[in-house]
């Protein structure tokens, strides 16, 4: 332990020496900073142009990330938070901890995006992923009527789980409880997070798992495996839009603005598809990587505005619990 | 002189009174019915039991508030006199140095003590590999190096056969005589008391009586002792 404390001491000593280089601290979710995530490449690319030290701090997932910011409050170490999704934006805005941005660019999102504080950097569609050869239903009603087995995540502990809740609500409104009731015998189980569900799916525990339309791209590009596909649902697919924002209390205001501009530039956006396995918010000049053209593209994109999402969350959660706890 | 001055010793619901003097270098038996408090008396002298009142002194020095290890008292219990994980040498060595390592001189002293009790070649053995009699000898060797002025025996040899027990008691008497140790021993066997101890303390009816001649006590026992002796 002494050794580690010593190492920690060295670390803080070196950062003190480097104090003349400004440091930009970005809080993000854990998988962003992992070696396979965008983090390492983003850090390298930004440090090339910023003459600064980019410090990425990984915190579990988007929800835990927001909790951390709320816990730290106005004297947070973070200058930027990167990794909230639309379901969290409303709560994030309410904290009053975030400052408006100065980014102006043409987003290539399938929906209009106008927000003075939160800047999208990638997006994706939720979808049920299945084995390519399987014959799968084309909407929630068919799914409920079929005997296909699905794995989903709990909306109380995972972002995709919350996304699915919003998906059914956005597509079916007041009929959502009935849809859930019909789906209940298709649901093998509900997991804490995405990893558990996806792991179980790969073990063959179910026919389909809630993930993203981009998931098959990972298998195709990284593993040269075309055995996975995403089912296209004709009521439309709910979107996950991931955003970043500058903290009002940042002491690196200019650098934070520079990062947000960098974030929507080609340098950052071209890293996203094959590291975060999502669509870039601004399609880079070079287009999408090969393999993304094979993905399902929904005819209809569903997305509740942050305020709508926040307003119906508790009700939708109650309906979900009610239908599945029978 | 060991003096118990108006002592009252509590042990749960039971209490024992003792008021007596025991002269130096004497060997005293403690006899009485089972459950009368013989062990309680010894435990109080050794410091394992608090006095409700009264005081215990040795050669005029008050022992009452001293912890067991600071008293000039060594005690052998009914069992648990040796640490099973230590060799005979280490067990005896504890009598000299309970808290540290033995010096070469001290090792020699321990060896001498083991030789004196008749176990010259057993230093490296652990208790489990020794016979009952040998285990008792190791414990006695430790008492020997402890050089305490008072030795209390709470029937440490009860588990040994009659011949072996006699042998041990003789050894104890020899050692006590050699070192000038004051000896008190609980005994269930009147013959043991008669053989070894000129004086005896009768413990009965919540009272420990002052020492009197063993022969007189056994030849003309008071009622409490008589029913016990049968």
């Amino acid at each position: 332990m002494k050794h580690l404390l010593f190492a920690a001491g060295i670390l803080s000593a070196t950062s003190a020496i480097a104090a003349d280089t400004p440091e930009l601290t970005v809080y993000t979710y854990d998988s962003f900073v992992s070696d396979w995530g965008p983090g390492p490449q983003v850090e390298e690319a930004f440090e090339k142009i910023c003459n600064c030290d980019l410090k990425l701090v990984g915190i579990e997932d988007g929800a835990a990330l927001l909790s951390r910011i709320r816990l730290e409050g106005a004297n947070s170490d973070a200058d930027i938070v990167l990794g909230l999704d639309t379901n969290l934006v409303s709560a994030a805005r309410e904290t009053g901890l975030f400052a408006p941005h100065a980014v102006s660019t043409e987003f290539t999102l399938p929906v209009d995006w106008a927000d003075d504080t939160f800047v999208p950097y990638d997006w994706g569609y939720f979808a049920f992923v299945h084995n390519a050869e399987a014959d799968v239903p084309g909407n929630f009603r068919d799914l409920a009527a079929s005997d296909a087995k699905i794995l989903i995540q709990d909306p109380r502990s995972s972002t995709p789980g919350l996304g699915l809740l919003m998906w059914v609500k956005a597509a079916y409104g007041d009929e959502a409880p009935a849809i859930w009731a019909d789906l209940s015998d298709n649901i093998v189980t509900v997991t804490k997070g995405w990893s558990e569900a996806y792991g179980l799916f790969l073990e063959g525990e179910a026919d389909m798992v809630l993930s993203y339309t981009t998931s098959p791209a990972y298998h195709l590009i990284a593993e040269e495996d075309d055995s996975k596909a995403a089912a296209a649902f004709d009521e439309g697919h709910y979107m996950q839009v991931e955003v970043a924002a500058k903290l009002a209390a940042t002491d690196q205001d200019a650098l934070a603005d520079q990062f947000l501009d960098f974030m929507v530039s080609d340098a950052f956006q071209s890293i996203i598809p094959t590291t975060n396995w999502m669509y870039p918010a601004v399609t880079p000049a070079g287009g999408l990587p090969e393999g993304f053209d094979t993905l399902v593209t929904p005819d209809k994109s569903l997305l509740l505005s942050p305020d709508e999402a926040a307003a119906i969350r508790d009700e939708a959660l109650g309906e979900w619990l009610g239908a599945l706890s029978q | 002189m060991l003096k118990l001055d108006g002592c009252r010793i509590a042990n749960g619901d039971f209490a024992l009174s003792a008021d007596m003097e025991i002269s130096e270098r004497s060997t005293v038996a403690v006899i009485g019915p089972s459950g009368a408090g013989k062990s309680t008396l010894l435990e109080a002298i050794a410091g394992f039991r608090d006095l409700e009142r009264g005081k215990i002194s040795w050669r005029g020095r008050d022992l009452t508030d001293l912890p067991p290890g600071k008293r000039p008292v060594a005690m052998l219990f009914q069992d648990g006199n040796l640490f099973p994980h230590m060799t005979a040498l280490q067990n005896v060595g504890l009598g000299l140095r309970p808290n540290g390592k033995l010096s070469p001189d001290e090792v020699a002293e321990v060896d001498a003590a083991l030789a004196r009790v008749g176990l010259p070649d057993m230093a490296a053995r652990k208790p489990a590999t020794l016979s009952g009699g040998q285990q008792s000898r190791v414990a006695l060797a430790r008492v020997l190096v402890q050089r305490r002025e008072i030795l209390l025996l709470d029937e440490p040899f009860a588990a040994l056969g009659p011949a072996l027990k006699v042998e041990m008691l003789d050894l104890v008497r020899e050692l006590a005589a050699e070192t000038g140790t004051t000896l008190m021993m609980v005994s269930h066997d009147p013959e043991d008391a008669r053989r070894i101890c000129r004086k005896a303390i009768l413990v009965a009816e919540n009272t420990a009586l002052a020492p009197q001649a063993t022969v007189d006590l056994l030849n003309d026992p008071p009622p409490a002792l008589r029913s016990y002796l049968g």
Partner: protein, 515 residues
Amino acid sequence: MVGRAQPVNPWPGIGAAALVAALILGTLLAVALRAEAGRGLGPADWAALRFTLTQATLSTLLSVALAIPVARALARRRFRGRSVLIALLGAPFILPVIVAILGLLQVFGRSGWISDLLGLAGLPPLRIYGLHGVVLAHVFFNLPLATRLILQGWQEVPSERFRLAAQLGCDGRAIFRLIEAPMLARVVPGALAVIFALCLTSFAVALTLGGGPRATTLELGIYQAFTYDFDLGRAALLSTLQLTLTVAAGYAALRLSRGDGFGAGLDRAIRRWDGGAVWTDVAWIALAAVLLLLPLSAVVLSGLSGLARTPVILVNAALISVAVAIASTVLLLLLALPMAAAIATGRKGLVELSGILGLSASPLVIGTGLFILIRPLTDPTAWALPVTAMVNAVMALPFALRILLPAARENVQRFGPLAQSLDMRPFAFLRRVMIPRMRAQIGFAAGLGAALSMGDLGVIALFADAEIATLPLQIYRLMGAYQMQAAQAGALLLLLLSMGAFWLLDRGGRWHVEA
């Protein structure tokens, strides 16, 4: 018989207990004080409480009930691979939850090995999801632990007692009545309390195997309150409820487990003469081995294919995990030994209860509380590893105490008077008597502590930054990045490391040398 001075000094133990209680209750308080007005407890929380209690009670009773015959069989039989099997008993416990779930489902799942076999016979697949699935998973996690704790009880019965029984011609049933039943009366309540507390805090396992939100536990509520609702008051409230249940269970266990030790023995190797029915013993051992080994081998098989291409990052993470485990184990012993000694001298209640607290303290609460407390002083990320080591030690403390206590009590009772009359100082008694005489228990406790620390995600997720990550955290990261195969290799690496640490420490301490 000791009515005054004590051979060991209880104060270090009382100090350690106070430290542990301060850590657990202090962090809870820090969270509560930071809370704004939030939602109180609603009907959903009471439903969660009911489910939590139901599954924890069933899982605990079943785990311990099965562990008794298994431990008895293991105590009575000598066979090839016995010590390996006993070492493997520590394994399920240290696997990251997600890995264990995958392993279990590879065997018992809808497309698991058993369902495949049933399919060959034309039968429908196993229906594992539901309350029975939760209980099965908890039995998988806890039966081995219960078996180890109870087996320890058997090993502490002096061999002289069995010799006496054999000499009296006692058969298996008579031995049970005379020797084993009183031993069980002493050991089982503690095991029940420990496992009950563990099952109380289950979250991912209960939810996944439970098959849906019916299987919502309090811990899920705590997680939700922290991350999705940021309702710290609610988190503190639920956590208090959880702690109260644990303390109640612990208190009940303490009341029940009063009983005397077995008196003196001379450390002879255990040997038993009661033949008993060989086949029932074989059946019990086989049952436990199947339940244990099948999911483990699923984990091993899945990991093997990726092991050759283990990413360097996993090796680094493994080194960090080993360092944390070493620190955590040292800390664990520094806390547990004095506490065990203090309890053995009669400072039972509070010291022992504070030891049990660690079981149902939610890592989220401790982590967040520590974060709130540390942050005004210094950068919490710099303290990620020391904090992880400390929290891991506190979490392992209840197990260590269960393991150390009976022996500590026995030693104080048996040798305390002798040590005192020799004027042995408390420290010397600890060093020369307690520690050498408790080597087996210390080794077992240290092994379990090291393995637990190695496998625990604990609070590291709250503190770690990109550069410092333990092996379990890195495994989760891999899974989150679709790298299932590398993650499974990581899980195998973790399993090997933890088992290695456990085996090394446990072996190092074993004193019942068996031929």
